[in-house]
């Protein structure tokens, strides 16, 4: 079985994530690291490959050329290959542009299963998989916390606002996994040493079907409203009433 895992290289949390006021885009000039949420689908892909005894795990990403360094973590964990779509024409791509580029690369890979993490660590739309599945014209199951793959179909269990769904779909399919699905392994020293030697392909936008015009724009940026003046009161017997008034003002009661 061939599994493609879509991952994102995001600015390292330690060095901070912020938007560059001039480009109005996330500042990616600092160190990039694989989004913490994306180690879960990598782990799941490796487990599926190990359980079946054969197959291939390919990590697919879109980002600046430097993102390849971040993808090496997935290779160090055990993924076989990395594909990075990198093109200045894709800078600032929104959901549409990202979905088109990834779907283009995924079509070429022809994987049986495409995995995503449950969200990115920076953009946070938590819906890219559905756009990619639409482009691939494949079934999609999101927020999966238990995944079984059985020959030609998969079964995923997931939590929604209302309870637990169990959904079955034939392969090929697109699945987004929740972070409760597994505990990602740490790369071994041998894995880290071997990662650099694994195939790492860079693709331009033209290689994966061209660039799609964005459907969204960023008009302006502003600081968030200041956290309301913190109030601190002494309980004089009316503390409970004051809390309820506050909760009512904030529409919690």
């Amino acid at each position: 079985m061939k599994i493609a895992v879509c991952v994102k290289a995001v600015p390292d949390a330690a060095s901070g994530r912020h938007i560059d006021p001039s480009s109005k885009r996330l500042d990616r000039s600092g160190e990039l690291t694989i989004s913490e949420w994306d180690t879960y689908p990598v782990e799941e892909a490796l487990k599926l490959k190990e359980a079946s005894g054969s197959g291939e795990v390919v990590v697919v990403s879109m980002g600046p050329e430097r993102a390849m360094d971040a993808l090496r973590k997935a290779l160090a964990m055990g993924a076989d290959r990395a594909v990075l779509i990198s093109d200045s024409a894709l800078e600032g791509a929104d959901l549409l542009g990202t979905a088109k580029a990834l779907a283009g690369a995924l079509e070429q890979e022809g994987a049986d299963l495409v995995l995503f993490g449950q969200q990115s660590a920076d953009g946070g739309g938590a819906c890219l998989w559905a756009a990619v599945a639409e482009r691939l014209r494949q079934p999609v199951v999101s927020q999966v916390s238990e995944l079984t793959v059985d020959g030609s179909s998969l079964t995923g269990k997931r939590q929604t606002e209302y309870g637990y769904d169990t959904i079955r779909a034939p392969l090929p399919a697109v699945v987004a996994v929740a972070d409760s699905i597994n505990t990602p392994r740490y790369p071994s020293l041998k894995g880290i040493m071997g990662a650099k030697k694994k195939p790492q392909d860079a693709r331009a936008a033209a290689d994966v079907g061209g660039v799609e015009a964005p459907g969204t724009t960023v008009v302006s940026l502003s600081p968030p409203p200041a956290r309301g003046e913190a109030q601190k009161i002494e309980d004089d017997g009316s503390g409970a009433e004051k809390i309820v008034e506050f909760l009512a003002e904030k529409r919690f009661v």
Partner: protein, 316 residues
């Protein structure tokens, strides 16, 4: 004139409040506002949406749409948008709505902005990066798609009535491949702390393990979940699964009520993303007051039972 379509999510015979909030918002902006209900046996819900501002409610009522799966909904919406010429389609955030909206975005080449807390018909406001920046977002595509943040809008009734019309149900082959095998309802003990909108957390200030009942009762009244600090989990007062903090879970509910919690950094990092923080602690110098929206210095054993009563009374 803008033609807006609002996706109404429903569960067990009622329309989700969040969807009605988005509908009320669309009606407030003005133009031609319609809503769409997609499912099986949902026709009866349609008229009720008129009161929240829908002039027309489109209904796709078909057994093939019974399971809350996204892809058949994309098919129905895409056809409706094309046939009726809607230029804006709005959603309230949910697991289902995000997948529907993104699929529709790719189908229609329509830009999708998410996390909206406001929208004026042309631009929206979306706080990003853990609310450290507010982005004014716009659209460059002919059809605008937007997902509002959960709980961002009030479902305000405007008292109108809706014309109910049938929407065509023509499903793509790939859209019907995923099938719902089973739907199990979550236990009715309230949400888990990672999903909860409201969390009541207890610390050592509760005094003894039995006093966690105070936190549980308040949480129940507020419709929330109970969390605990590492100190009390370590002491065996409450299970590890409820622990919030550096070595426990990281939560970001809309409301976090801290009972007898000092606010050590180990705890703070697990809950500082909460939208509104209320703290009750008898120590006026407790660090928790530095990052609480409302801090009450007092005896929680006096305040909390009263507070629970008042919340119950308010919620009816």
């Amino acid at each position: 004139m803008a033609k807006t379509l609002v996706f109404l999510e429903h569960h067990e015979g009622s329309i989700a409040k969040g969807s009605l909030g988005v509908l009320a918002k669309a009606a407030q902006i003005g133009g031609d506002v319609a809503a769409v209900l997609i499912g099986a046996d949902v026709r009866g819900l349609a008229e009720g949406a008129g009161a929240f501002g829908a002039g027309t409610v489109w209904v796709a009522d078909d057994a093939s749409l019974a399971a809350p799966l996204p892809q058949p909904r994309v098919d129905v919406l895409a056809k409706l948008v094309a046939d009726e010429g809607f230029d804006t389609v709005l959603f309230a955030q949910s697991v289902l709505a995000a997948d529907v909206a993104a699929g529709l975005s790719a189908r229609l080449d329509a830009g999708l902005n998410w996390g909206l807390v406001d929208f004026d018909g042309e631009t929206g406001k979306a706080p990003q990066l853990q609310d450290t920046v507010v982005v004014d977002v716009g659209w460059s595509s002919p059809v605008k798609l937007g997902i509002f943040r959960a709980g961002a809008l009030d479902a305000v009734e405007s008292g109108g009535s809706a014309e109910v019309k049938d929407a065509a149900v023509e499903l793509e082959d790939f859209s019907t491949q995923a099938e719902m095998v089973e739907q199990a309802h979550a236990e009715q003990q309230g949400p888990s702390i990672e999903d909860a909108d409201v969390i009541v957390a207890g610390g050592r200030g509760l005094g003894e393990p039995e006093k966690f009942a105070l936190a549980e009762e308040l949480a129940q009244a507020l419709g929330g979940a109970v969390a605990a600090t590492r100190a009390v989990v370590d002491a065996g007062w409450y299970p590890y699964s409820a622990q919030v903090g550096q070595t426990g879970k990281t939560v970001s509910p809309k409301l976090y009520v801290a009972l007898g919690i000092s606010g050590a950094i180990q705890h703070k990092v697990g809950m500082q993303g909460s939208s509104v923080i209320v703290a009750i602690n008898k120590d006026p110098n407790a660090p928790i007051f530095e990052f609480s929206d409302l801090g009450v210095v007092g005896d929680l054993h006096e305040i909390v039972p009263k507070l629970t009563e008042l919340v119950r009374a308010r919620k009816g």
